[in-house]
Symmetry: none
Subunit: 211 residues, 4 copies
């Protein structure tokens, strides 16, 4: 069966092989960048981790920055995926917002490539910094939208801060938990930290229901 495919699919197979190599390199990059700073990570480390030649890495990614950029892209893709899937869930806006935190925390604690993306944001050449920071802003916009919807559907009841301020607060808490979890145990306990934060956010965003 493999033989019968050979003629026509040869080019496609070759393409296929290339894609596999590229993705193997990407995962390896995730593993390496999640373990060390951008500058400490050598491209040789990545190609070794993938068991693929350094030359090949350069064939698939132009240079070191491009490798980092690809990791960042993949990270944001995976985070956006969680974001979309949770946002489209049934339930109150507040519930979805809190579920979102849980979902992202879970993703971070489980996916080395996502962890790599997080580390990279903190130790990146200036040109790439914005790309990383941009995501925090996007994420904050999503939070703000959900809070606004919560005010409408009644799941958010506080009136003492603007939705933007509340979103910023949510963001700060999440980032703080994420940073401390990253420093302490490589994000293993991040989901737990987020779970402990949940009632606090509920009491802040919906103080009446907590009474």
């Amino acid at each position: 069966m493999a033989m019968s495919e050979s003629r026509e699919n040869a080019p496609r197979r070759r393409q296929q092989r290339g894609i596999e190599t590229q993705s193997a390199l990407l995962e390896a990059a995730g593993r390496v960048f999640s373990r060390m700073e951008y500058d400490k990570a050598k491209l040789k480390d990545i190609s070794d981790d993938a068991g693929i030649s350094l030359g090949s890495l350069y064939f698939h990614f132009g240079n070191k920055d491009d490798v980092a950029a690809a990791v960042l892209d993949a990270q944001q893709e995976r985070m956006t995926e969680v974001l979309s899937s949770v946002v489209e869930t049934e339930g109150s806006s507040l519930g979805r917002l809190l579920d979102l935190l849980d979902g992202v925390a879970e993703l971070i604690s489980a996916d080395a490539l996502v962890q790599a993306g997080i580390r990279l944001v903190g130790s990146l050449p200036d040109e790439l910094k914005d790309r990383g920071y941009g995501f925090y802003e996007e994420w904050q916009r999503v939070a703000e939208t959900l809070i606004r919807e919560g005010l409408e559907d009644g799941s958010v009841t506080t009136a003492r801060q603007t939705p933007a301020e509340l979103a910023e607060l949510v963001n700060e808490l999440f980032v703080g938990a994420q940073v401390l979890a990253g420093m302490k145990d490589g994000w293993q306990t991040l989901p737990e930290r987020i779970r402990r934060i949940r009632p606090v956010l509920e009491s802040v965003l919906a103080p009446s229901s907590a009474a």
Copy 2:
């Protein structure tokens, strides 16, 4: 005795000059490390910034890691100074805790060496990581103590979380604000962010008084 003094002073005078050089180098290191990652920062950058020879830098600090360690030590010293001075203030425990956040935020936004220390914690050789993280733990203990005292003096009234959990929460919020401020504008707006957080913490730690 005048003669004997001249002998004893001789070495002391030398040390004096050395101390000045060393502290000039330390400030320069603060400036440089606050501008760039550990790996991107070259020791030549530091010695140039201080207007002192590279060899002299190596005379006073043994190697690059030691320079970073000295910056971390200086940072923690300065932060501990604020911490002590605020904690010994008059006023309720909760008030002092919140003033503490303000004080530290102010320090961070104003002192390049302290900013450098913060950056370094995130991008440091593994051997130095603990030293940096240790401070977060110490700081959290202080917060916990103040919360405990607050429960006694009545300034903290919540009973829904343990003091340890509340301290963790305060820590996460502060760290989150600090990280986002650092990314966004080099900590310029950190004090403002902390001011916005204040009422939230009051409502969480003393919900009754907020009613």
Copy 3:
């Protein structure tokens, strides 16, 4: 099978080029180390002498010590070659022992890499010292064996010292001649010196025949 060969040969062809480079570097290292002390010799000197980039030298040898180790290995290989070829010769044991001295003297006086090895033994980081000294011991064992055999085949007749002591004596004489020749004229006259030693050794090892 023609196809499959092309695949297998590809890497082999590459290796070929690498091997040539490596051996060119090794010879250059021999030339340089035979001219100057280990510490005085700069790796740049070696790569320049070989007309190959410094980076390439580091590609093939990990660091300076490894270069020296490779030189030592090559030296010992060449000396062992002489040793084996002479030992397997026809003739009396004593004759072969003395021929051995001649052969090694000849090699030393002609081969820069071997001279380099000798120099290195005297000025080497401690980790490599043993490797150098080990050879002297091995060589002494060979001498001892030949002397033992000489006692059996009658070419060695003295009974006043043990074979081990006699071997030590031979070794000391050879080393002394080699060191002095090295100091005086870069080993040019070593073969001559060894030739002058020959009758002495004969009279010591076979006193009767000398009478």
Copy 4:
């Protein structure tokens, strides 16, 4: 008593102090150079070993080469001392020659500064090399003289080599023993080695008496 000397002797005392410092530095240099190669030995090692400032070392010796030269001079002085004292002894010329070897071996095995001198000869900047090698030649002339005298007084009886050749042989044997002892155990067993050589030399230089 110290006080009563103070006025007039002040300058002399100062001189005295300088001499002590200088000799302390020289001994320290001996210790350091006997442990490591010229290039590996740092002047800081020497001044530290002496417990005297680096600046002071530069005051007493102009530069690194001068320190080495001073060590070499001191070594040769001490060796010459042994040489003179043994040569002026009663006894046959051959006996004095062999005693000389013993004496020098004893000195080498006991005196770090002398060991340092020996090491230095093998790892020295070219300008100083001759000074080191010169001593071997001088020493060989002494041996030759003694052998000549031995031929006259009857203690040396061989006629198969010229006195010069015999002296060379003695030198080679001694140097070989010394080099191997240095490599093996830091010259601890050199006297023993020389003792083992003694009968051999007797049989070579005075074959009849050995019969």
